[in-house]
Symmetry: C2
Subunit: 347 residues, 2 copies
Amino acid sequence: MSDPACPLPLEDYPTITMAHGGGGKLTQMLIDGLFMAAFDNPALRRMHDGALLDVDGAQMAFSTDSFVIDPIFFPGGDIGSLAVHGTVNDLAMCGARPVALSAGFILEEGLAMEDLWRIVTSMGNAAAEAGVPVVTGDTKVVDRGKCDKLYINTTGLGRILPGARIRPTRARPGDVVLISGPIADHGIAVMSVREGLEFETEIVSDSAALNEMARRLVETGRDKLRVMRDPTRGGVASALNEIAQQAQVGIRLDEDSIPVRDQVRGACEILGLDPLYVANEGKCIAIGAKETAGRLLQAMRSHRHGREAAIIGEVVREHPGRVHMTSSIGGERVVDMLAGDQLPRIC
Amino acid sequence: MSDPACPLPLEDYPTITMAHGGGGKLTQMLIDGLFMAAFDNPALRRMHDGALLDVDGAQMAFSTDSFVIDPIFFPGGDIGSLAVHGTVNDLAMCGARPVALSAGFILEEGLAMEDLWRIVTSMGNAAAEAGVPVVTGDTKVVDRGKCDKLYINTTGLGRILPGARIRPTRARPGDVVLISGPIADHGIAVMSVREGLEFETEIVSDSAALNEMARRLVETGRDKLRVMRDPTRGGVASALNEIAQQAQVGIRLDEDSIPVRDQVRGACEILGLDPLYVANEGKCIAIGAKETAGRLLQAMRSHRHGREAAIIGEVVREHPGRVHMTSSIGGERVVDMLAGDQLPRIC
C-alpha cells in the first residue's frame, strides 16, 4: 500500500515555520490537515484540550503537552512548574480530576546539573501542590546545539468528575462567558524578560494549577457548566474562536469587562501586542447557562487563583463560528484567530 | 522553604553529558539521584518500564518515551513508527493491553513538510497495526538549530491483562530467561546508516509492536510469567542487570544460545560493539518459572516476531544483582552495566 500524498498545500508551506507552532491558523491547519488525516479516530476528532476515553466503563481524560519555553526560568515560574501546571490544567479543563503525570525530558549536552535539579525540584513541588504524582518518566540527551537547554513533555491521566459534562460543542446561545482573572500575565512576564523590559513592579506569570478551581466549578454548575478552557498559547481570542467554531455559535465579548492589569496593558502597548492574544497559564474560561452565572462567578472567586474573576461576554446566535467584541467607546469588531505566530516559545 | 541541594556530586558531573542519556550507569544515577528525589512516590519507586496505577479499582499501566533518533529514517522504520512501537512495547512489557497513545511533536523550523507527513503517516500505520489509537497530541515549533528535525514523545495508557502479574522483582532462582529473537538488529541498522557501512544485504531494524506476543505470553504463563522487558537502549545486558538488581538475584547467560545474525555480528566487530549492549526495538525478554519454559518458548515462536526465540539463561541464587555469562569456549565472565554511552540517539 503506498501512502497518500501530503494533504497540505506544499507550494504554500513546503517547510515548517515558527508560525506552525503559534497556536493560530497555521497550527490548526497542521492539526486538521496532517495529524487528523494520519491518526483519525473518534476520540481525536472531539478536539478537546485532552481526549476523553472510556476504559472498561471508567471515564478518563488523557492529555499531552511539550514545553519548549525560552527562557527556562522566568518571573513566577520555570519550565518545570509550567510543565506540571499546563497538563494538570488541560485535564482539569476536561472536567477531570488529575490522577497521574508522566515526565519526558530531552536534555541538551552541557546543561548545568544544578539548573536541572532546580527545575526537577520545582516540578516536584508543583505536582505535590496540585496533588498529582509524577509516576513515570524518561530521559534523553542530545548533542550540544540540538536542543535549547531542555524540553519537557508531560502527559496526564485524569478521572472525569461526577456530574461533569464539559464539551466545547455544548456552548449555546444565551450562555455566559467567564474568565477567572486578569489576562496576559504569563506571556508578558516571559516577553519582558526576553526583551529586557524593566518595570517598577515585576510582571509575574500566572502559571498555576487550576484543578481545584475547576472542581468547584463542576460541583457548582454540574450539567449547566458547558465548557472550560485554559487560554494558553494564542490567548483568550484563540480559545474562544476554537469554541465558537466547534459549537457553531457566536461569542460576543464586552471589552470593558475583560480584566487586564495596568502594567500588563502598558507592556502590551510597548511590545505591540493585543492582550487577547497573549498566553495565560493559570486562567480558566468557563461557559455556562445564564442562570448559573452568579454561582459560577462565586465559585471562581472562592479560590485564591480566581479572586478577580469576571463575566466577560455571552454566547449568541449571530455570527456562528466567530467572536465579536463591543466596547463602551464604540462599535463592534471581529476578534479573529491570528494567522501567524505572535509569541514563539511561550510555553 | 528553600529547596535542598542537588543530591548528585556536582564536582564529578557539573553538566549533562551524552552518557547521561545512554541507558547505562549514568542514566541510572540521574534517575535514582535526581528524579526519584524530586518526584518520590510509590508508583515511581517500582521502576518498571511503565507505572502501574490503580484508578478507582481498574489496574492500568502508564508509560512515556521521547524519541530523538538520528537519522529519522532508517532501514526498517523511522522515528514515527519507532515512537509507536517503543511505547506500545513498554505497556506490553507491564502485562498491559495498550488502550491509547498520545503524541507530542517538537518540530524544528525548516523541517520539510513532506518528511513530517511521511513520519506521521508511518505513525498512523504503526498505531493501526498495533490496534492502538493516537487520541491526543501537541505540536511545538522551535527555531532552526534548536532541535534536530523533530523529536516525538509518545505516552501510553494500558489496561493490565487478566492474570498478568509482571514485576521485575518477581524473578527468582530457578526461573528461565528467554529472548524472542536475534539481538542488536535495531542499533546496528541505525549505526550502519550513520557510519555509511554497506553490506551485501541491508541490516534492518527489528522495530515492531510486541503487544500481541506479550498477550500470548501472559495467557500462556499467567502467574508463572514473572518478568517481561524489551531490551532497548543499553541492550540485553542493561535490561538484565536492572532486573538482577531489582530482584536481588543473579542471572547466568549461556553465550552460545543467544541468537545474533551473522551479519549483525560482523558489523558489531567492525564497529567495536558488543551485541549484548546494542539496542533492540522489537524483542522481548521473558523470565518465567522453569516448568513453563517450553510453553513460553512456544508462545513466542507462535508469533511472527518470535520465530527465532530462544532460552538464553537462568536466574540463580549466586552473585545477586549481577549478570554472568558462560560460553562453550571457556569460563564465566561478568556482564556489567555500561558506565557510559555506547550509542547516542539510538531511539
